[in-house]
Symmetry: C2
Subunit: 352 residues, 2 copies
Amino acid sequence: MNPEKPGYQLSCPVPYTDYDQVMLAHGGGGKISQQIIQKLFFTHFGNEYLNLAHDGAILPLNGSRVAFSTDSYVVQPIFFAGGNIGELAINGTVNDLACCGAKPLFISVGFILEEGLLIKDLEQIVQSMSIAAQNAGVKIVTGDTKVVEKGSCDKIFINTSGIGIIKEGIDISPINCRPGDVIIINGKIAEHGMAILSARKGLQFETGIKSDTAALNHMVEAILDNSREVHVLRDPTRGGLASSLNEIAQSSGVGLTIEEELIPVSEEVRGACELFGFDPLYVANEGKILVFAAKKEAEKILETMKMFDCGKEAALIGYVSEQHPGRVRLKTSIGSHRIVDMISGEQLPRIC
Amino acid sequence: MNPEKPGYQLSCPVPYTDYDQVMLAHGGGGKISQQIIQKLFFTHFGNEYLNLAHDGAILPLNGSRVAFSTDSYVVQPIFFAGGNIGELAINGTVNDLACCGAKPLFISVGFILEEGLLIKDLEQIVQSMSIAAQNAGVKIVTGDTKVVEKGSCDKIFINTSGIGIIKEGIDISPINCRPGDVIIINGKIAEHGMAILSARKGLQFETGIKSDTAALNHMVEAILDNSREVHVLRDPTRGGLASSLNEIAQSSGVGLTIEEELIPVSEEVRGACELFGFDPLYVANEGKILVFAAKKEAEKILETMKMFDCGKEAALIGYVSEQHPGRVRLKTSIGSHRIVDMISGEQLPRIC
C-alpha cells in the first residue's frame, strides 16, 4: 500500500484488534466495517486498484479500461415488497459498475444454497434474475452452485460479480469530488431498508413501502453522455445516504453540506422510520445514486434523470465546499447545522 | 438458448422437477448437479457464452478475448492439511481461468462471515489469500464483506471471481477434444478430497494426506507457449477425474479411455480410499489439470509439466477415440474395460 497514493483514509478511533471476533457491525457499512476493510483487507491485499475504495476496480486491459465489481447478497427475507434477493443481486452489481462510469456487460452468479430450499423459490429467484439482467442489458455468462447442509446457511446467498467497459473521456472516482460541486440524488431515500424491515415485522401491507431496487445503468449512461463534468457516482446502499456521503467526503478531502428540506423522503418512509426509531439518512437504498458534478451541469443532470422512471423525483440535495474537509453537515429545516457522522455499528443486519 | 450451438448436452433420465427441494447432491458436481444447471440455470440465463459450460466464460471485450470465472467456497473444515479455504479460493479461480487458456490477472473476493468468527482465523485466511495471489501473479482488486448472525452460515464462505486475458492463437474449449488426442494429468489424484475427509474424521496425522491445492497458471502458460495443439484444459475438482472426463466426453461428443495402471495415486490415498470406501476417480482435486492435446504434443507437454513442482508426477493416462461417444471407459489393471459414469449424487459435501 502506497501511503502517497490518494485514496480512502479513515480516521478510526478504535483499532479492529479491539475485537477478537467478527460482529454483525463488521458488515454494516459503517465505521466498524471500514476498520476491518482498512486494517485487515487493505493491509494484506493492498494495491493501487483496491486502495481507491471505489464501488469496483478500474483496470487496464489490453488498452481498454474495464470496471470489475463483486457483491454477495444475504438479504433476509429473500422475498420482500418490490423484489427478491435475485433481482437485488443483479441490480446491485450493475449499479456498482455504473458507479465506476462503466457500461455493465457481463455478470457472474455464485449461488450458495441451503439443503431443503424449495426448488420453486429458487426458480422464482432465477426468473427474476433473468428479467433483471434483460432490463439492464447484461448477460449472465458464468456461474457456480454450492449446496450446504440444512442449518449451515440461511436459505440462499448469492454472489454476483460483473464486468463493464469505460468509455474514453470518462473519469469517475471517489477522490474526484471538488469544492463547488453539487450533490444530486435520483429520488426518495430509505425505501429498500424500510421495505425489508416492514417484511421482517410482518407489516409490509400496513406500511405499503416497496424496495426501490432498480438497475440505474441506462440513466447513468445518459447522464455521462450529456454531461462531461460528472466527478463521482456512488450508490448509497448499506449505511444509507449518510455513510456514502462520509466516504466521499473523506476520499476526496472535501466538506459536504446537505439540506434536510431538499432530501426526498416519502411520507410512508418517514412515518415508518419514526415508528421503528430509524434515521432515514442511515437506511439502505438499492435504486439510488448520488451524482457529484460541476454546478453548471446540475440542470442538465436533473433533466436527464427525470427522463427515466428511476429518476422522476431527482433532486439537488447539497453542495461541496473546502470547509470542514472530511465532514458531512446537515442544514436542518430550522436552519441550524449538525454533523452527520458515519454510522458506527450495524443498524439493520442483512439488508442486502 | 440456441439448440444449434454446440455445447454441453446432458442426457439426464431424471428431470429436476422430480425434486421439490434442493438437496446436497445438487451441489455435488455430478448428474443431479448438472440437472439443476441445465434445467434451471441454462433455461433462464442461457446465452452463447454460458451455454458452453466452460470453467469460465470467454468474452469479447474491445477487441480482446477475456476469460471471466466465479466460484464460491464453502469447504468444511476451513483449515486442513495443505491449506485453508482462502488459499483454495484464490487457487481455484486462478485455475478456472487457466483452464480457459487465459493468463489470470485480477481477482475479486466476496466474504460472507458468521458472527463470532475469530478475527485471528480470518486474518490467517486473508494472509494465505495474499500469499496465494502473489504466487499466482494476480491482484485482488475489489471485494465485499457481509456478516450474518451466528447460525446463519458456517464460519466463513468466500466467493472469488476472476478476469484473465487470452493470447491470440489460443483456442481452448470443452468442445474441442478430438479423436486421436491424448489425455495427460499433472500428478497424483484424489489428494484434496482425502485430506478434507481425514480432517473431518480427525485422522489427518494418521493418513498424512495433504490437499494438493496449488495455482497451475504458470505451468499452463508454459504448456500453451510450447505446444500449439492443446485442445481442452479442465481441472478435475468436485466429482473428481471421472466427472470431468464425462463432461468433456459429452461436450466434445467423443469417447475417452483411461488406463487404471497409468493413473497416479499415492499409496496413502489409495489406502484411505479403501478404508473409507471411496473410489479415487470420484474424489476432488484442487491442484490437478487434465490436458487434452494432439498425440504428437504429448512428450513436450509432459516435459514442460515436469519443470514445475506441481507437475513433477505428470502422466499420460489415456486417449480419445470416435468409439463410444459421450462415454468414459476404464481399462482395468487386469485388461478388462468398464464404463466410468458421472457420479450421480454427492460423495463428499462441502469439499471446496
